[in-house]
């Protein structure tokens, strides 16, 4: 469904992506792991057109992601941002129903609100939260609202950018379980970037290790611990010794 073919991206002299090749089949949950600053977010944002690759192509359903009707293309996606990226000026329900209140997917206000409340319930939030503003919510609740917004328009593809960053271990576990449940019940294709190994084990069907601008290893999550790849082994163990240079 999503295919990266030799994707390169540099910011000035910093060559972040140096020929990424990766295939995510339809309905599969792919988790990209890698250290901070290795280009995981850049890879994810390249699919959505938020970052334009210098060379190489990203295909979605066999079509070049950079061509065609971009609005219609984006309507197929939902995304949970690292910090939630909720709109401060809008109440929670309008954040969740944002796409349903304007544009090609516009619904009557009452219907959009009802869908928003239903999605909030799906992520474990009560209706009372709907009329609050994002700043009035805890970090975990904001993640849930972000998740509700990501699934509000029933997207075919969902991206999760560091879904558990900033959360305590218990809340991380709750969010991981929610993500897994929602991806399975929607039958969506998912792409997650994280360096939280508990997220990887909870969310992934397949794992890809990004380092030095290329995918070092990819395979099923069950084979991750016995991958034989030194990068993956070091990343899982969290060791300072290995091929991944650790700055002390």
């Amino acid at each position: 469904m999503i295919r990266f073919e030799n994707v390169h991206k540099a910011f000035g002299s910093n060559r972040v992506l140096r020929g990424v090749n990766l295939h995510i089949p339809k309905g599969e949950s792919m988790v990209i792991i890698g250290g901070s600053g290795t280009g995981k977010s850049v890879a994810l944002k390249s699919v959505l057109g938020l970052v334009k690759p210098d060379s190489g192509t990203i295909f979605v359903d066999g079509k070049d992601a950079s061509e065609g009707d971009h609005d219609a293309f984006l309507a197929r996606f939902g995304m949970l941002f690292q910090g939630g990226a909720l709109f401060d000026s809008l109440p929670v329900w309008q954040n969740v129903a944002f796409r349903l209140l304007r544009g090609s997917l516009k619904r009557p206000t009452e219907e959009a609100r009802a869908i928003a409340v239903e999605k909030l319930r799906r992520v474990g939030l009560k209706e009372e939260v709907a009329d609050r503003y994002p700043a009035e919510l805890s970090g975990g609740m904001q993640k849930r609202v972000g998740l509700a917004r990501a699934i509000a328009a029933e997207p075919e593809i969902i991206f999760f950018d560091e879904p558990t960053t900033g959360l305590d271990p218990i809340m991380s576990g709750v969010i991981n379980e929610l993500i897994r449940e929602i991806v399975v019940e929607m039958g969506a294709t998912a792409m997650t970037i994280t360096h939280d190994m508990s997220s990887v084990r909870a969310i992934a069907d397949k794992v890809a290790m990004l380092h030095d601008g290329v995918i070092q290893w990819t395979g099923p999550v069950a084979k991750m611990d016995d991958s034989g790849d030194p990068y993956v082994a070091q990343f899982i163990s969290g060791s300072a010794e290995g091929p991944i240079e650790a700055v002390r």
Partner: protein, 261 residues
């Protein structure tokens, strides 16, 4: 040789940097106006921008122009007394406020109040990935954020200038009648007789230009903000500086266009 050439190289680099910045601003302005005439239009956001730029600016505009008009009356009376021209206070207050001080003071107050808040808000949205979130939700940030604010600025700031002009003139009237022993009816009659339609048109035109500049600078600096709190701070500071300088420069150019003949 390099020591001789380094100041020239620095000047060249500065010139190129300034031209590049001018080019980026020109492209941003062009894109804003291009988006204004192409759907979708976000009416609710436009309404909110009208309220923020216009209605909620009324108190600061009213107080600023009131005190400016009062001070102007005192200055003209004191200065005019040197050559027995105290009687011209109503006329000079009217022309001073309507032609120059009204639009400039309103423009600068809008730069202080609105430009800064727009820049800080949009820059924070950029830093917290809210602009990226807008894109992923099939909403163009320029259409959703820039167009409503700039359009509101162009439409509502002339109205603020009109209100500011009236309050400024009344500030002069209050001082003249209250402390300088002017006759109230004569003062108002002299003001009305002296002002011409072209004065009012130039005042409102300056208001529209100032409103456009103030809101555009807020959006431009916000959208192009750097990362973190420092990025937001720099964007906010830069937007107010740029708006204030451009408003004064535009005022000079427009005064030349309207009144040079």
């Amino acid at each position: 040789m390099s020591r001789v050439l380094s100041p020239i190289a620095a000047l060249g680099a500065l010139t190129l940097s300034a031209l590049a910045a001018l080019g980026r601003l020109a492209i941003f302005t062009g894109q804003t106006f291009a988006h204004m005439i192409r759907p979708p239009f976000y009416i609710k956001e436009f309404g909110a921008a009208l309220m923020n730029v216009g209605y909620f600016s009324l108190p600061v505009i009213g107080l600023t122009t009131l005190f400016t008009g009062g001070a102007l009356a005192l200055q003209i009376y004191a200065g005019g007394a040197r050559f027995s021209a105290e009687a011209v206070v109503p006329q000079i207050v009217a022309i001073g406020i309507v032609r120059e001080l009204g639009p400039v003071m309103v423009g600068l107050m809008i730069a202080a109040r609105v430009t800064s808040s727009i820049a800080a808000e949009i820059a924070t949205m950029k830093v917290t990935e809210q602009l990226d979130a807008l894109v992923t939700l099939s909403t163009h940030p320029m259409k959703y954020l820039t167009v409503p604010r700039v359009l509101a600025g162009i439409i509502v700031v002339p109205m603020l200038v009109a209100v500011g002009n009236i309050i400024g003139i009344m500030g002069g009237w209050a001082v003249a009648v209250g402390t300088l022993d002017f006759n109230s009816a004569t003062y108002l009659q002299n003001t009305a007789d002296f002002l011409e339609t072209s004065d009012i048109i130039s005042s409102l035109a300056k208001g529209a230009v100032n409103g456009g500049i103030a809101t555009l600078m807020g959006c431009y600096y916000g959208m192009n903000s750097g990362r973190g709190a420092m990025g937001v701070g720099r964007a906010t500071k830069g937007s107010v500086e740029a708006a204030a300088v451009l408003i004064l420069a535009a005022n000079f150019v427009l005064t030349g266009i309207f009144f040079s003949s």
